[in-house]
């Protein structure tokens, strides 16, 4: 939110300056996120603990290093991945409502997890007894997302038109959601609750190994984006113009499917679906930086996405309680009003 004020006060500020401001915002959000929780640990304590190794209490070291740090890192990774996927989709499909999940990725991951959690009870087979290994969930999500993405890619190979691809992706998403509904209908209450909680998303609960895996996948997923920055700029005028400027939209489409598949797919597999960030953050970045140049927009969306998800997670930490609100609900509850107010204040459709 502070970006808006920055934007108003520095009308002619350079994009680099704004990027630095966003970086500071990210650091601030990180510290805030890490210090809030069931016990509040002041940022000063955290910093001195990290740099000198002197913690005021041994339990605090545990909380910070093994619980809050991984969670904050996951928030940063997820924020970066989701918002960059969203920006790619919005530019490629030239549609302001496109997001990372339009190609059915989250429904696919959902299907994988639903089969893992629900199918057992739905078909009356032996259940996992309520405690499912987090790796199993991540693998099921990855498999499901890959399956749907593969099917959509086959369609993409067949259809030449990007609008058709968008519709095919949405239809696949709906069909897969329908299968999940059927599974939910026939499954037991315990399994259903487990799945419902997964579908609300969660940034916590990952061990360091998983954080490293997620970090690695996200890094790989960003490589195609960096390689095609110029092509995304060329796509701004539409596919025909892009072709006339020597850009190959078919190649870009494959790179985009690969990149969003890795980014959004891995995030959904590890954290569950996280709504809103992927659609809204690219718009926020476009409004603040007032540009359509992807060389600026990609780092900008990454910074804003990471900060916003950290802040949302901080909001979700109910003060004085070990309970946290599900991240998927918080992103929409906190984020939607911000975007609505921005959209109403500015001439939104003209800026897209």
């Amino acid at each position: 939110m502070s970006c808006i004020f920055i934007n108003n006060s520095m009308k002619k500020s350079s994009p680099i300056l704004l990027l630095s401001a966003a970086l500071i915002l990210l650091l601030f959000s990180f510290l805030l996120n890490v210090s809030l929780g069931s016990v509040t640990i002041s940022p000063g304590d955290i910093l001195s603990g990290i740099f000198t190794g002197d913690w005021t209490k041994a339990s605090r070291e545990q909380i910070i290093l093994n619980y809050r740090f991984p969670k904050a890192l996951v928030a940063i990774l997820a924020g970066i991945g989701l918002s960059i996927s969203g920006l790619q989709m919005q530019t490629f499909f030239r549609n302001p409502l496109a997001g990372p999940f339009v190609l059915g990725i989250s429904s696919g991951a959902g299907l994988g997890v639903a089969i893992l959690m629900l199918a057992g009870s739905a078909f009356g087979l032996a259940t996992f007894g309520g405690a499912i290994n987090p790796w199993a969930i991540a693998i099921a999500g990855t498999l499901g997302a890959s399956l749907v993405l593969l099917t959509v890619s086959l369609a993409a190979w067949k259809v030449k038109d990007s609008m058709t691809l968008l519709i095919v992706g949405l239809m696949f998403g709906s069909a897969v959601s329908a299968i999940i509904s059927v599974l939910s209908y026939f499954s037991g209450a315990e399994a259903l609750k487990l799945f419902t909680i997964w579908s609300m998303g969660s940034l916590g609960g990952l061990v360091w190994d998983q954080v490293w895996v997620l970090g690695l996948v996200i890094t790989i997923g960003i490589i195609p984006v960096i390689a095609s920055v110029k092509s995304y700029n060329g796509m701004l005028l539409g596919e025909s113009y892009a072709k006339s400027m020597g850009i190959n939209p078919d190649r870009l489409r494959w790179l985009m499917i690969l990149s969003t598949g890795l980014l959004a797919g891995s995030i959904t597999a590890f954290c569950g679906p996280i709504a809103f960030i992927g659609i809204a953050v690219p718009h926020l970045a476009r409004m603040v930086w007032k540009t359509s140049d992807h060389r600026i927009l990609f780092p900008a969306t990454a910074l804003i996405g990471a900060s916003l998800l950290l802040l949302c997670d901080a909001v979700g930490q109910l003060p004085g309680s070990a309970q946290t609100l599900p991240i998927n609900a918080v992103t929409s509850l906190v984020g939607a009003p911000i975007v609505i107010s921005l959209v109403l204040r500015k001439n939104f459709s003209k800026e897209f």
Partner: protein
């Protein structure tokens, strides 16, 4: 004249639907010379866009080939083609928060490295493109805040910054007002002359095209493409190919299209430039013939008919 930058020989093009090849244009021969502005004219649905697609290399011809600077256009890679040929399309989609300068800079995409960073030479070309289209003053304006005519000029500047030998424009003057249409077409003519570019303009503005084009390509259903100097086509009457029905024809003396039924005879005498307008007004009022001769005088304008004088044509027609 200069060398031909685009040559089409015995070109047959169309679309493949399933296993059926639907031919839209057959046996086309044409040449586009360097430093020449050429207008492609023809009724809607005759296949102008299809021909343009073939010239842009987006459509593989069934027979014959399009040569760009001596090489078949289908052998060019996307990147190489982009350095030779640039376009202005009818697609209305433009991101509103892009500035004119940024739009024009996009023309350098085929020339820059993978990051798209602009070098000094790129900046120079962009500057030249802006000054050739006379929109330097718009450089920092956003696309959502300029007029349609200015936007069209910015798109032309973008195509110019792409720095190819050939520019193809699909109806660049559609939706523009009269002054802007003249400005854009004269601008294109200037560019073709000063920068030695081949410019192909698809247009429906016959009168402005007559003013500005070096060459016409006329397309009509079931006919071969007619190519020639606009003036030749007017004199030989081939320009009437554009008007297939019985109702209209191109008037050689007036330089515009008129209704054939309008060949009514009124006996109008007076200054030459006025008599035509008097006949026109009478024709529109549905008057077929007048028994007496009409006399028109200049300074002040007076219509003299059957011994009465009228100050305006409106008065005159009301009195009839």
């Amino acid at each position: 004249m200069g060398k031909a930058s685009i040559i089409g020989t015995n070109l047959t093009i169309g679309y493949t639907k399933g296993k059926v090849q639907k031919e839209i244009l057959t046996g086309l021969d044409f040449e586009l010379l360097e430093g020449e502005m050429c207008c492609l004219l023809g009724p809607n649905g005759v296949g102008k866009s299809t021909l343009v697609k073939a010239i842009l290399g987006q459509l593989k011809p069934f027979k014959g080939e399009v040569l760009l600077r001596g090489k078949s256009i289908n052998t060019y890679s996307n990147e190489m083609l982009a350095k030779e040929l640039s376009v202005v399309l009818t697609e209305p989609f433009l991101p509103g928060n892009m500035t004119v300068g940024q739009l024009v800079a996009m023309g350098r995409i085929p020339h820059t490295s993978w990051t798209g960073k602009l070098e000094d030479t790129d900046r120079e070309v962009i500057q030249n493109a802006l000054s050739a289209t006379k929109i330097e003053y718009l450089r920092d304006e956003r696309l959502s805040e300029i007029s349609d005519g200015q936007r069209q000029k910015a798109l032309i500047a973008r195509a110019l910054a792409q720095d190819g030998k050939v520019m193809v424009l699909d109806e660049p003057t559609a939706h523009l007002d009269l002054v802007n249409r003249y400005e854009i077409m004269h601008l294109l003519r200037e560019i073709s002359k000063s920068q030695g570019k081949s410019i192909l303009v698809v247009t429906h503005d016959l009168e402005i095209a007559l003013e500005t084009a070096d060459r016409f390509w006329l397309l009509n259903c079931g006919m071969p493409l007619i190519s020639g100097l606009p003036e030749d086509l007017v004199i030989t009457g081939q320009i009437n190919q554009l008007l297939p029905g019985e109702n209209f024809r191109f008037s050689v003396e007036k330089g515009r299209i008129e209704s054939k039924i309008g060949s009514l005879k009124f006996d109008v005498s007076g200054p030459g430039e006025y008599t035509a307008w008097v006949s026109k007004a009478l024709e529109k009022a549905g008057i077929k013939e007048l028994p007496e001769p009409i006399e028109v005088s200049k300074d002040p304008f007076l219509v003299n008919y059957a011994g009465k004088e009228f100050l305006s044509l409106e008065e005159f027609i009301l009195a009839l």
